[in-house]
């Protein structure tokens, strides 16, 4: 979970000017020296499908949130359900409660164990302080553990040493009503660098002919301090606190016990959220080729809605040690302990039994990267973990990377990954809204089941990367994923009285997915860069013969079979920048409702008035007044449509 796989492999460095003495010292300090030799972890990282979003990309793409930035990543599906809810996944199985993608912010997992997904609206990171976002498609279970099944997203913020000085940024427009960020970075007498920040975001409601009521706002405060008192130690302490309110309209079925039996009520639900975290990390270089890292964090998540409710505290402690052994081996091993405790508040639609539960997770891993030759690296590793729901799990992988030439790499891997049961899949009693054709008076429940087991993936990947003199790069990955014991809901009628339909979670689905992802970058000239990405996916799922599930197999249509993006970053001299992106997303179908394919255009014009002062105007989703992207599942919130959005931004660093 620590940043063991720190990677920069997939992006091209900006070409350096001939005379570096003309650059400011701040700019010099920002140049990254990508050296295969010095940071051995990059070799193993190279044996995987990686895409890196840099701080500069975030600025030039004009995005206001992490999900928007992820739209350009090949192999990753990003779809909006309403203004504050996203369905995001890697390599298929998309849903608001998508559960096969692990997301980490500075080594802290933001994947909720309640339903094994992410509350994206709560991850309101200050984008100006993000160093980079590493997106690793494919299984990462060996290093990151359960739930890194189809991908891992590592959001890495800058060290406080890199955010000295003050910065204010204001964004305002129609859909983005306002985002304000203020940050101060300084240095204490004893050498500790720090930053403190505050961020407030306010988003307008999206489009629905029936009224959206999904506007939302969020406020966040935080700090990070970094201390490098000695050459070999670096210590980080950071924390955040946020509060938010996210609107929606939700349908609730009233059963015999409800206030008006046999009806479905649409209610306005302003879900309130609050949360915070505190993280400590200590890294020490014990000698030139060995180091260890200790990381401890506490995280709180609070969510109070008319259906969904969660109040959770998590404590996590991880240790990782890396060392070289007999010249050819680069070994990293570690262990992790996580304790999480929740309280829930039952309501007529959503109940957890027991309503409060503590869960322990123990894990250990070892990975050895063997240099068979200078340009041939074999990586073997496995994770072993124990969780309270499915017991012991193992997740081995074998990866090989061959540097065919200085500019080309061919890699392949075979790995096993598991998606361990979520708390909800064992303990929830969720009242579903029946389809319009069914009698609303008969309650339908999705129910947790203690026998619900882990979903299992065996993945086969092959990739090729070319980086020609930083003029162009191409990265191709193909995969074949073989899944077993995927989640199903098998309904059975309980004649009662009163009659009810109960659907316990089970593991009666299996299948294969195939895919291809391609991303390419071309530095056309000194001030013009073009990128293109394309993804293709095919999913073939099969229900076991004993299953009468009618819903789960349909997830094979919930991801587009193809999507493509082309984007351009053009500089008019030093001061003016013009950015454009054209995105295509293929059609999908969710529970027999089709959503058409769409093409959208995003534009940005930026003007650097003087060093540190930047004005920009951004247009997103410019080709349509509004278009739908996705639909909710499990909890019937009203889906809304993404609208055209225009906003301006001023950022001043001083």
């Amino acid at each position: 979970m620590l940043t063991a796989l720190s990677v920069q492999a997939a992006t091209l460095d900006d070409t350096l000017p001939d005379d570096l003495t003309e650059m400011s010292m701040e700019a010099l300090m920002d140049i990254e020296i990508t050296s295969v030799a010095k940071k051995p972890q990059k070799k193993s990282a190279a044996a995987a499908a990686i895409f890196v979003i840099t701080n500069d990309d975030l600025r030039r793409w004009g995005v206001t949130s992490i999900p928007e930035a992820l739209r350009r990543v090949p192999g990753v599906d990003v779809a909006k359900i309403d203004a504050n809810k996203w369905a995001i996944t890697s390599r298929g199985f998309n849903s608001r409660f998508a559960n096969k993608l692990l997301v980490l912010i500075d080594g802290r997992s933001v994947y909720t164990p309640l339903f094994a997904g992410v509350y994206w609206d709560n991850q309101d990171v200050v984008l100006q302080d993000v160093e980079r976002i590493e997106v690793i498609r494919g299984p990462g279970g060996t290093l990151w553990g359960a739930n890194a099944v189809n991908g891992v997203i590592n959001i890495i913020t800058k060290s406080a040493t890199d955010t000295q000085g003050d910065m204010v940024s204001v964004t305002a427009g129609d859909e983005v009503r306002g985002i304000g960020v203020a940050r101060h970075g300084g240095k204490l007498k004893n050498g500790i660098n720090y930053r403190v920040y505050a961020k407030y975001s306010d988003y307008d409601e999206a489009y629905s002919s029936a009224g959206a009521h999904d506007d939302w706002r969020s406020g966040q405060l935080g700090f990070r301090s970094d201390w490098m008192q000695t050459d070999r130690d670096s210590i980080t302490l950071q924390g955040d606190y946020y509060r938010g309110k996210a609107g929606q309209q939700v349908s609730i079925a009233n059963g015999p016990a409800g206030p008006s039996p046999g009806t479905i009520n649409q209610v306005i639900d302003d879900t309130e959220t609050d949360g915070g975290n505190l993280l400590f990390r200590w890294s020490r270089m014990t000698d030139k080729s060995s180091s260890f890292t200790l990381q401890i964090y506490y995280d709180h998540v609070g969510l109070d809605g008319k259906v969904l409710y969660e109040d959770r505290d998590t404590f996590d402690m991880e240790f990782q040690h890396r060392f070289q052994w007999m010249d050819k081996h680069d070994v990293v091993w570690g262990f992790d302990y996580r304790f999480t405790h929740d309280n829930t508040d039952n309501n007529q639609s959503f109940e957890l039994d027991p309503s409060s539960r503590s869960v322990n997770l123990y894990s250990t891993f070892i990975q050895d990267e063997i240099s068979l030759q200078d340009n041939l690296h074999l990586t073997l590793g496995t994770k072993l973990e124990h969780n309270d729901f499915s017991g012991f799990e193992y997740q081995p992988s074998i990866r090989i990377a061959w540097g065919m030439t200085a500019s080309q790499t061919l890699w392949g891997s075979v790995s096993r990954a598991v998606r361990t049961p979520a708390r909800g899949e064992h303990d929830v009693i969720l009242r579903l809204v029946p389809p319009p054709t069914a009698d609303p008076g008969i309650p339908v429940y999705a129910e947790g089941d203690d026998g619900y087991d882990s979903e299992v993936l065996t993945a086969y990947e092959l990739g090729y990367r070319l980086n020609h003199n930083n003029i162009w790069s191409t990265d191709v990955a193909v995969f074949y994923n073989d899944y077993d014991k995927l989640r199903t809901l098998d309904p059975s009628v309980d004649p009662g009285p009163p009659a009810t339909v109960r659907s316990p979670f089970d593991n009666n689905l299996s299948g294969e997915t195939y895919g291809l992802e391609l991303v390419s970058q071309w530095q056309v000239g000194p001030g013009w860069r073009l990128n293109a990405s394309y993804s293709w996916l095919d999913m073939q799922l099969r229900l076991d013969s004993n299953s009468n599930d009618t819903l789960s197999k349909s997830s094979e249509d919930a991801s587009p079979s193809s999507k493509a993006t082309i984007w351009s970053a053009f500089d008019f001299g030093n001061k003016l920048q013009f950015d454009a992106a054209l995105r295509y997303v293929g059609d999908i179908e969710i529970y027999e409702t089709s959503i058409d394919s769409y093409v959208e255009l995003d534009l940005r014009l930026g003007w650097e008035a003087r060093a540190g002062l930047e004005f920009s105007i951004i247009g997103q989703n410019l080709l349509d007044n509004h278009h739908p992207e996705f639909l909710p599942d499990f909890i019937n919130t009203r889906p809304t449509e993404v609208e055209r959005s225009i906003y301006g931004r001023v950022t001043w660093a001083f």
């Binding site: 920002d30 990254e32 500019s407 293109a532």
Partner: protein, 187 residues
């Protein structure tokens, strides 16, 4: 890829393709050397900036017609360093010199000390002399050196020992101090 198909007609791309074919035959080790070159190009630019943002005592500069920027012992600076020759700092032209003995650098304004040097002896020789000492050596500022380069997350950063600077009679600008990852001693 439409981009590529379109661009086949540009001469630039034909040249790029030719370069690519050459690169295919290049050995794998080329990459690390390239990274090291970049590192030392950046460090060269930093040495130039250090010269600009440090003030030497009037007595040490008055009689001089040139600014001597020196290396001591084996270093990984190759010809990059020579690109500084002829630039001016504090109204004096930079001259780049490579020395092997501590005694020789007493006449330098800035010296980059190579890793093989006997640090204790070198620093004793330079004690209280108006010479800005710079090195990659771990613990350099702790042992009395003035500026120490350190790679952090593949970026070139530096530490400053402000006490060592003031006992050498050097004044370090607040800009330089503010960019250091760590400043030891009084400001």
């Amino acid at each position: 890829m439409r981009i590529f198909r379109h661009s086949i007609f540009s001469g630039e791309l034909i040249a790029a393709t030719a370069a690519l074919l050459m690169l295919l035959c290049a050995p794998v080790t080329g990459k690390a050397d390239e990274a090291q070159q970049t590192e030392y190009r950046i460090k060269t630019a930093f040495l130039y900036n250090f010269s600009r943002f440090v003030v030497w005592p009037e007595s040490a500069m008055r009689e001089r017609s040139e600014f001597s920027l020196c290396t001591l012992g084996e270093t990984l600076f190759e010809e990059q360093l020579d690109t500084l020759a002829g630039k001016t700092v504090h109204n004096k032209a930079i001259v780049v010199k490579r020395h092997s003995q501590p005694q020789q650098v007493l006449d330098c304004q800035l010296v980059f000390i190579g890793e093989q040097q006997d640090l204790t002896e070198t620093l004793r020789t330079l004690q209280k002399q108006p010479v800005l000492t710079v090195s990659n050596i771990a613990g350099f500022t702790k042992k009395g050196g003035i500026i120490q380069f350190q790679l952090i997350e593949n970026k070139v950063r530096f530490r400053i020992n402000a006490d060592a600077a003031s006992s050498a009679g050097l004044t370090i600008s607040s800009k330089l101090l503010s960019l250091a990852i760590d400043v030891t001693g009084s400001r």
